[in-house]
Subunit: 114 residues, 2 copies
DNA sequence: TGTTTAATGCAACTGAGTTGCAAAAGTAAG
DNA sequence: CTTACTTTTGCAACTCAGTTGCATTAAACA
């Protein structure tokens, strides 16, 4: 399972993971392992443009501190999805206690820009 | 349909809309009208924490220019979801052409902070 | 070896969103 | 009014990501 994330810097959708691991393990098992890896701080998840769930390897996450304010990019053309290691400053919102921020940028990646 | 959005400043999930309009129109019709209203620039949509679709009235949207960089807030406790009218500056990302940005903040709203 | 606990498989289910098609409602001539 | 045409709606069936219950297997450990 983790090999998938070691081979790429991109995020991987659960749908693709289930497909790629079809021979090795059951769909339910994929979901359960992903949940565990996220709890452990090895992976983090986010929701793609279409509402599908994506996972990516954590670089600077811990079990308690997940993906704070690092955005994700999803290419409208090829679907490639990846973490962007730039800092987004979330302005404080009065009267709200913000726990997490999820920023999804969509557009065209460099490969699809030609 | 639009009355729902006139009565509140909050966003409304499609699920809730279907439920509230159950007597007046079919589920399919709700989806179709929402799609039309979004095309026309009357409403804009975004994806909630759980992957469900939400709609909110447009204040400064046009058919071509939707919800650019205005974030949404979703309360972890009561589920209330609303537009935040603060500007988020998306730093330019080299080699990427960013078309849209969707920022979802989650936490506790003022009513649930007691 | 037996017992307990955790990990997996499988099948059936849930629920949001979609699709195809037919019925209804609206629009515009003739 | 009536016919022809277009748009809107309802309904049922479907798709598909994600979940659940339960039985089976594998690990851990006494």
């Amino acid at each position: 399972m983790l090999e998938v994330f070691e081979q790429t810097n991109n995020a991987v959708s659960v749908v693709e993971l289930v497909e790629r691991l079809r021979r090795e393990m059951n769909k339910t098992t994929v979901y359960r392992i992903l949940e565990r890896l996220e709890d452990e701080g090895t992976l983090h998840s986010f929701t793609g443009k279409n509402g599908l769930k994506w996972y990516a390897a954590c670089k600077e996450c811990s079990p308690s501190h997940h993906l704070d304010s690092h955005p994700h990019f999803q290419c409208r053309v090829c679907g490639k999805t990846e973490c962007l290691f730039i800092d987004i400053s979330i302005p404080p919102v009065s009267n709200y206690k913000i726990d997490s921020a999820e920023l999804l940028l969509t557009g065209q990646c460099k490969d699809c820009l030609s």
